[in-house]
Amino acid sequence: MSLSVRIKKNFGTFSLDVNFDAPDGVTGLLGASGCGKSMTLKCVAGVVTPDEGRIVSDGRVLFDSAEGINLPPRRRRVGLLFQNYALFPNMTVERNVMSALSVRGGKNTRARFAELAEKFYIRGLENHYPANLSGGQQQRVALARIMASEPSVLMLDEPLSALDSYLRWQVEGELASTLEEFGGTTLYVSHNRDEVYRLCGGVCVMNRGRAEPLRAVSDLFESPNTLASSLLSGCKNYSRAERAGGSLVRAVDWNVELECGCEATDDLAYVGVRAHYISLADEDEEDAPNVFRCRVIRVIQDVFHTIVNVVPLGAPSDRGCSRIRVEMSRGESRGIGVGDVISVKVKPSDVMPLKK
């Protein structure tokens, strides 16, 4: 059971070139808006035809430009949950789900509907129209309808982004158990790293139409190796970088030399440091490696902590990438004001050398 996708499609200003093999379980497609995540799902579902490539699901060839195979969407058995859920507004909940059940045929459609209604908690909503349901209810109906069509691959396009933030957490829990029960190959598209971290096993970072190789989620968050993946994993501070011999790298935008835990490679282009891995240095550490003096530019009070924006002394600029975001507790930040000079430190193992 797996899904293999190798596709190319040219849109003039933008081109899609995606390559990945998703195993059973949930695989995340993580990327910023407009990077081609949704288009990839549409290509797999068959509602958009790629220029070339091959899509294979559990050994069934869905699309192969070389062999001239292009199964219509209805024969691909690929369930796609749209961002807006795409329930038919003119039909009640029951008729929405029954429409998919009747395609599969068989005499037990009523019983099967009752079973799905039970499982997705939509009993009592049968005669409602989608416009009268909450976002969470709509999603459950849409999932029930997809499950009614018995897909072998499930794809979810930003399933939580249409929900209010207070609903999102509850719906995410329901979604997690649905995905677990489904068990087959699932593609989960999102631009939210937290969702991907919690729901997915593997993740494929997408950047401007290209997909980076599939990796384990924990791997991505612990050691993102490209600029795009480090940004998506939530790294706020990055600078252009060059090798300075051995495990030493020079962060150009910060004008500091940093010790990183490992030998820097040839393709080093950037260096990243997470905001909460930077801390204030004690006075006696001033000359230790990875300690540098900065000027405070802004102090921002966040809900539970303080964000301090600093620029290293000697940095070529005081804006853009030269700004470093440091997160600290309220107590630590007490007494720090704009214009102050402070010393900050970062552990060598927290310095992430990044490829382009």
């Binding site: 209805r74 795409a86 038919f88 003119n90 416009a131 009268n132």
Partner: protein, 250 residues
């Protein structure tokens, strides 16, 4: 129908006056408008469907050509029609020779004129409804395994219903009021080709203002009813669909 007759006493009773009015123009107008609306209904839906899926380059040209009758003066449409379906025109002469009937100066000639004039109204309204339609509904139907026929008739059409109905009502109203092209291909023959609009013109020319007013009144009533129904359709379109069962909580 029948010609106007009757002695003076009857004319003073309002009811008798209505009965004596020659209702043929109303009947003819409704007949012509009804038939041409039926034609534009299917043609508009079908052609709007084709244009929506046409390649972008063809789309613009087709759209212009199909909308042209809406912006052309109706007399120009009438002129072209006369030159095509008239007794010496390329189509009219062939029909006359093969089947032995004239395509102009008969009651049904008006159908050709009104169909062409009202088609763009139907076409544009339906196309607007199609473009406003959320295409992801079609995609989700396809991935669920539903047939194209099911998706078109049970998903797309019901969700474009208001636009299609509004287009139909507008086309009907326009057909009822069509004058320019109609008068050129049908002329004015009382009891045979007269419509409400050509009758008003004729009565005014004769200086028969009293009768002209009656037809103006009839026309106003019909137009008003049409506009009210269009407005009702539009407001029901904006209102979200309510469930049969009450008391839904989120």
């Amino acid at each position: 129908m029948g010609a106007r007759r009757g002695g003076p006493p009857a004319l003073y009773a309002p009811r008798a006056r209505l009965a004596l009015m020659d209702w043929f123009p109303l009947f003819n107008s409704l007949r012509v408008a009804g038939i041409s609306t039926a034609i534009t209904f299917f043609a508009g839906i079908f052609i709007a469907h084709c244009v929506t899926f046409a390649p972008r380059s063809v789309k613009g040209a087709l759209d212009c050509a199909l909308t042209l009758p809406m912006v052309l003066p109706p007399t120009v449409v009438g002129f072209f029609l006369l030159k095509t379906i008239g007794p010496f025109g390329p189509i009219g002469s062939v029909v006359l020779e093969a089947f032995g009937f004239k395509m102009t100066m008969t009651w049904y000639s008006a159908i050709f004129a009104t169909t062409i004039v009202t088609f763009p109204l139907m076409y544009r309204t339906v196309r607007g409804a199609y473009e406003a339609f959320d295409e992801t509904l079609v995609y989700s139907g396809q991935t669920l395994g539903l047939s194209d026929a099911f998706i078109f008739w049970r998903v797309k059409m019901p969700n474009c219903k208001q636009g299609i109905l509004a287009g139909t009502v507008l086309a009907f109203a326009r057909a009822l009021g069509e004058y320019g092209a109609t008068t050129m291909v049908t002329g004015y023959i009382p009891g045979r080709t007269a419509t409400i609009s050509t009758t008003v013109y004729q009565l005014w020319r004769e200086g028969n203002d009293a009768s002209a007013y009656k037809w103006v009144g009839v026309n106003l009533v019909i137009s008003f009813a049409v506009l009210v129904s269009v407005n009702m359709l539009e407001s029901s379109y904006k209102r979200p669909r309510r469930s049969a069962a009450a008391g839904v909580d989120g």
